[in-house]
């Protein structure tokens, strides 16, 4: 017979208010679930959480737990107050990779719920900040059973520890008019090329892929991904002048001037006195603003591809880093195109694995050794698109100038030759 419920006066406060309450959810598991194991787990979880609220401290500690054959994918949690709260004293999270783009059928969600009720706490998150389905709360033993079960019907663990992490991609081409790429194919091509590195942590630190279909970057890839892939286009923005006029009629000239023209980062748009919109596409940086404001009138061009940035991450330990452009533009149509992208990822991870210090992210390494050395390491040529502007400091030794200039001219010649060929 189940033991009495812990008092949770503070947590109870979180049952008030209109927003759905996670506390009410945990209480449902405690009070209404058929499985006593789950009732008890939920009760002790609430007890420990209430204790945290009262003392303003956390009581979980890490450890090592993994499933057979893998080294990572699980965030182990053992309670420091397990005596008071024995039934939730082992409360590990399984990080499971969702389908690219986070698409589900209700049937599949139910199937996952069934397995999780069988083996876990009944608490789950779609999704964590990296993008994993987080099945929160399993004992060491049950992690294996749960994994075995869902792995049979197509789900696999994501990353935890110094390894390639679960990737993320936006809804993109599945529903979005701004999409310039097949986000989900890029996502799976990249991360599934590294399953071994996902499951067996052996890198200097974590490595994350993120894919956005356009520069709106709905998955924050520049800020949060070691390897960011962003859809873009090379030709002109498609303008439907009739829709432009309709917009001007509806909103007035001043509105379009103040909200579209003057917001363009390169001032490359101009509204002719007859209300036709002119865009100097040469100078459009594909920021997306005008397309966002006038989605009916403006659309991305047809010659699509992607930009790749490397080195984004958070604060540890040199301060927040955004990614840096490494590939200004590449087409992603043929399988060869995709292979080139995968090779870039491999080159990057290999070089970083060899040259990164312990617990040093790729971006931190680039910062330490310098972008130029990194580029030489992965065999990528320098390109002015990699910088916002050339050097401001005269403090540099440039006695190799002539050879470097030669390289540039040769590359230009090759491109020209290729073009004319």
């Amino acid at each position: 017979m189940a033991k009495p419920n812990h008092e949770t006066p503070m947590l109870d406060e979180l049952e008030n208010g209109p927003w759905p309450s996670f506390i009410s959810g945990i209480k449902r598991l405690r009070d209404r679930h058929a499985d006593e194991r789950i009732n008890g787990m939920a009760n002790d979880l609430l007890g420990q959480l209430e204790h945290s609220y009262e003392t303003r401290k956390g009581y979980w500690k890490g450890g090592t737990v993994s499933v057979y054959g893998y080294g990572g994918g699980i965030i182990p949690r053992f309670s420091e107050v397990g005596k008071q709260f024995p039934e939730s004293k082992e409360f590990h999270t399984l990080r499971v990779q969702p389908p690219a783009g986070n698409f589900y059928t209700t049937d599949m969600l139910r199937q996952l719920a069934d397995s999780w009720e069988k083996w876990g706490s009944g608490l789950v998150t779609f999704h964590g900040q990296t993008g994993n389905i987080m099945f929160i709360g399993a004992t060491t033993e049950n992690t294996q059973h749960f994994f075995d079960e869902i792995n049979e019907y197509g789900f696999d663990l994501g990353g935890a520890g110094p390894c390639v992490r679960t990737a993320m991609s936006c809804v993109g081409a599945a529903r979005c008019e701004q999409s310039c790429a097949n986000e989900h194919k890029i996502h799976r091509t990249l991360v599934n090329n590294f399953t071994d590195d996902v499951h067996r942590p052996a890198l200097p630190y974590k490595f994350k892929f993120k894919v956005s279909g356009c520069p709106n970057d709905c998955v924050n890839s520049i800020e949060r991904a070691d390897f960011a892939v962003i859809g873009t286009w090379r030709d002109d923005i498609k303008i439907d002048q009739a829709e432009v006029k309709a917009f001007v009629d509806r909103k007035g000239r001043q509105y379009i001037i103040d909200n579209v023209l003057t917001r363009c980062p390169t001032n490359c748009m101009s509204l002719a006195d007859d209300d036709t919109l002119e865009i100097d596409d040469r100078n459009c940086v594909k920021c997306m603003h005008c397309l966002n404001v006038m989605p009916k009138a403006l659309s991305p061009g047809d010659d699509k591809g992607v930009t790749v940035l490397l080195g984004g991450k958070r604060t540890l330990k040199i301060g927040d880093l955004m990614g840096t452009v490494i590939v200004p533009f590449m087409k992603l149509e043929t399988e060869e195109d995709y292979e080139r992208l995968t090779e870039l990822a491999e080159e990057t991870i290999d070089f970083w694995a060899e040259n990164g210090l312990e617990h040093e992210r790729c971006g931190e390494m680039i910062e330490r050794i310098g972008l130029v050395n990194f580029l030489e390491g992965i065999g990528v040529d320098v390109d002015p698109n990699m910088v916002s502007h050339p050097r401001e400091s005269s403090y540099v030794r440039i006695d190799g100038w002539d050879e470097e200039a030669e390289k540039w001219f040769q590359r230009k010649a090759e491109v020209k030759a290729a073009a004319s060929a």
Binding site: E13, N16, G17, P18, W19, P20, F22, I23, G25, Y53, R56, K57, G58, K61, V67, Y68, G69, Y70, I75, R77, F91, Q97, P98, P99, N102, F103, Y104, T105, T106, G122, L123, V124, T125, Q129, I136, E152, G154, D156, L157, V171, A173, A174, E177, V191, T195, D196, P215, N216, D217, C218, V219, N220, R224, R314, T315, L316, K317, M322, E358, H359
Partner: protein, 358 residues
Amino acid sequence: MARTEMRTPIESGCPDGFQYMHPVMLKNFGQWKYHEHPKPGVLRHVAESGDEIWTVKAGTQRILDVFTLRKLCEIGDRYADGHVRFTIRSNIEYMVAEESKVEPLINALSEAGFIVGGTANSVAMISHTQGWLHCDIPGTDASGVVKSMMDELVDEFKNCNMPNRVHITTSCCQINCGGQGDIAINVQHTKPPKINHDLVANVCERPSVVARCPVAAIRPAQVNGKPTLEVDEKKCICCGACYPPCPPMQINDPEHTKLAIWVGGNHSNARSKPSFQKLVAAGIPNNPPRWPEATAIVKNILRTYKEDAKDWERINDWVERIGWPRFFELTGLPFTKYHIDNWRGSRKSLNASSYIRL
């Protein structure tokens, strides 16, 4: 169990999403023409083919119990087409092919207590992290902070009255898993770690802990005969980076672990390059169960932004236009010496111009 009995995993990696995609989305993949925003929580995407897909978006508690999950599925079958997705802010999206299904779906969701909204220029669901519920290093809870704030911001989620999207994030320690946001509510420690010298030797790999410190404030030491670590408190910036690899370096403190609020993190490339968030308020009490002080500041910032910003200005665009001095004036928040950056590269943050709004 003996290894032999164990099942070898199928290293299938990331599953194919196409198999779960709504047929209309599958058919029109990459062929979408434009979208409209008929009302909060609802998107109408129109394909080149003329096909339409209607999306209804709802907010939930991020920590779902299976009852809630089943409820969402039930609604998905009864009122929608059985195809759903979760956004990167953990909102659920139902995609349906007919407009007629939209209203009944909205009603069903609302009746079941889910909040329809979060689209376009609303305050989006706050992206949150693990906190006391699961993490091993949290300074605060995440689910509780988010629940408390969403209770107060629910109208801004249900309506689209903001100048542009508002993306709020939280993080329960300075590691900042929540990332950056238009507004970010993050833990900020204010005192150096208290070291439990008896444990260090056994628990911590000392050289790597020393290596973790961003300001090289940690050095090996001996305390009553035992090898341990000590911190130069003059240098220490109280970041907590030493705590994960060395739990005896207790950074969390019921009193001195505070909250700080940052604004202006914008990761889209729209109008301006992605920008980092800036510190605006700190020293905020870490006050469970409902963190009223932090919420009050967030609401104050949102109100000011709503009143003063122009259409399409994200918070960073707005402050960029009106200037930081006016931001502090309008919000009434104090500007202190701590607002002047001194981390590497910070010289670029000084005003090297005569640009002053007078």
